[in-house]
């Protein structure tokens, strides 16, 4: 996956008259971090990177473009945003288009087929307290990590993010330009969820109570999710007030269940909620449970096709009725 090809595509994208800026990745400010980059036409393309460290989803920013009061409409003229999208990002974009969150012609998508990204916690555990920005490349099954003049080779399996191990669509499903060769789709795999389901209800309860006690309600899991874009979110509404602001296990449970259920049949498994959580809660476990139910109960996978109908708003006569007594 050559960075130069990405830069050429980005230059072409920004050369178009109808693209106002491009959202991509650039080197982070320290260690193994990567930062979102907002590049306007005629700005420096060289800062763009694509590497296994690019573990954040950029689709979030498509829906966060607040028109600043006082800025003329001309400054926000209705035209395209170019965005670098990996496999899971493209599913999020499909979902947004399907739900009419964003019109297809507002996006110029530079698809990047993705061989999996590094889990930030794992690499920082292996190489703690690295301040100088590091470079990581992938070569035949290993990561070559170089910083402070040294270079280390680590087998990919050791640092790969858990979600990438069960990723179904490494190649973007929707793009204007594709970079990198097409990688075959892979079957879904929910063994970890099945294992957890098998546990007795008291053990599950104890597990989640212990996790929800840690939550500090910083709302990063909601704010980072590409599919949480409602202008007034039910978690913030005061009248009616569904959720109290006090932070205890009971309210945190309500917070996480409300937030997760609003992603039922929508979540595309990018794992951002779990990645950003400062208290390390296993939030994707909840989402993947709903993903598994959607597949088993309705044979449905979210974000595969922008023209698909969303799961919970369409009724088919053959939908299972088992849960209605």
């Amino acid at each position: 996956m050559s960075v130069q090809k990405l830069k050429d595509e980005a230059a072409r994208a920004l050369g178009r008259k109808d693209v106002k800026y491009l959202i991509g990745y650039k080197k982070g400010s320290y260690g193994f971090r990567v930062s979102p980059a907002f590049i306007e036409p005629k700005e420096d393309i060289e800062q763009l990177i694509i590497s296994p460290l690019c573990n954040m989803s950029l689709v979030k920013y498509v829906m966060m473009e607040e028109t600043l009061p006082g800025l003329t409409e001309q400054a926000m003229k209705p035209s395209k945003i170019a965005i670098v999208a990996r496999g899971c990002d493209s599913r999020a974009i499909n979902l947004l288009i399907e739900e009419k969150g964003v019109p297809r012609d507002k996006l110029y998508i530079i698809g990047v087929s993705c061989k999996g990204v590094i889990d930030q916690r794992k690499i920082e555990a292996l190489f703690p307290q690295v301040t100088e920005p590091a470079e990581v490349t992938e070569e035949n099954g290993n990561y070559i990590i170089s910083f402070q003049g040294e270079s280390h080779t680590v087998p990919k399996e050791e640092l790969l993010a858990e979600l990438c191990k069960v990723c179904q669509y490494p190649t973007p499903l929707i793009y204007d330009k594709l970079i990198g060769d097409k990688l075959p789709a892979r079957p879904a795999n929910y063994d970890d969820i099945a294992a957890f389901e098998a546990l007795p209800v008291e053990e599950r309860l104890a597990y989640w109570q212990q996790q929800f006690t840690k939550c500090v309600r910083c709302y990063a899991c909601r704010n980072v999710c590409p599919l949480c874009y409602s202008t007034i979110c039910s978690l913030d509404s005061l009248s009616p007030q569904w959720l109290r602001r006090s932070v205890d296990t009971s309210e945190n449970f309500m917070f996480q269940i409300i937030r997760t259920f609003h992603l039922a049949g929508r979540c595309i498994g990018c794992g951002e909620c779990e990645r950003v959580c400062p208290m390390n809660l296993p939030l994707m476990k909840l989402n993947r449970k709903l993903e598994k139910d959607a597949k088993e109960l309705f044979g449905y996978e979210s974000g595969k096709d922008p023209k698909a109908k969303s799961l919970l708003t369409t009724f088919h006569t053959e939908d299972p009725q088992g849960f209605i007594l």
């Binding site: 907002f38 600043l68 009061p69 709302y219 990063a220 400062p278």
Partner: protein
Amino acid sequence: MDVLILQKDSIKDFLSSLSTDYLLWAPIEKDGDTLFQPLLDCNNNSPDLAHQAIIIKHSIFPQTEPLYSYDQNDQIQAPDAQDIKQNILFGVRPCDARSFSLLDPVFKGDVPDPYYLARRNKALLIGMACTKPFANCFCTSVGGNPCGQEGLDLLCTDLGDRYLVAVLSEKGKEIINKTSSLFIAAPAEEIKQGAELAQNAERSMKRRIDLAGVTDTLGRIFENPVWKKMALKCIGCGICTYTCPTCYCFDMQDEPMAKKRGRRVRVWDSCMYKEYTLHASGHNPRPTRVERLKNRIYHKFKFNVDTFGTFGCVGCGRCITLCPVNEDIIENLLAVKGAA
């Protein structure tokens, strides 16, 4: 004040002897993260002194604190300050200790806050010097020091198999008297070794920024476009403010409960949230992430200086480490200086 030696293997007895009449807090490792929590039984879980606790201010400024409760016929009842136990915060980093002395003027002032002060006056801080600063620490750039003593009652410095313990206050002395059998006077060369460790800790700070004149620069660049570029990637979550030891903003809400009872609760709030300044009429003086991020930096590097004379930041680096989108306050401050 005298300097003593405490053998590492007698840390357990030191803590358990204190836990009889003090509530002990310490950084404890829990599935990969270091949380600052009450250390209930010191025998089989020991403090994790190698990492930086994610949040520490909740030990004195709790995230959720009931202000008063009321019963079905509206009798209001506030909690009694007496039943707050004497706390010992063990393993506090010098920057975190300093952060409490930055919170004090806010909660003291002309209308003192009884809730914060009840806990603050009953908290005793035993510090752990940072001989190996973490990745994003920049305490030396904001007037702090990896082995600083400000706000601490005792300061331990790790000498390998034992700690050099500096007694810094009367309260610290009381603790030593209670457990004096565990301590011996520190010989001169170990005190020197401690001082050397402190010096090269200061030298080994990996992140620095010269903040001279940043307060005046901020006074001039309020309308500068640098802020827009800076805030584009911020997602407006609460991580930086909740993990920041010097952030104290809070919300107050009423919470009705069963049988017409209820309570009024104080909870942490974040200036990065939209609802923080949203008027009931829908108007919002800080409508987008640009104004909010700008307000956060102005508060810590200008308003706090104008009001209390010091930066509202101790350089602990948590907001840099934990930000999901790598919003780096040192980079932002460099951009501020560049925009002068």
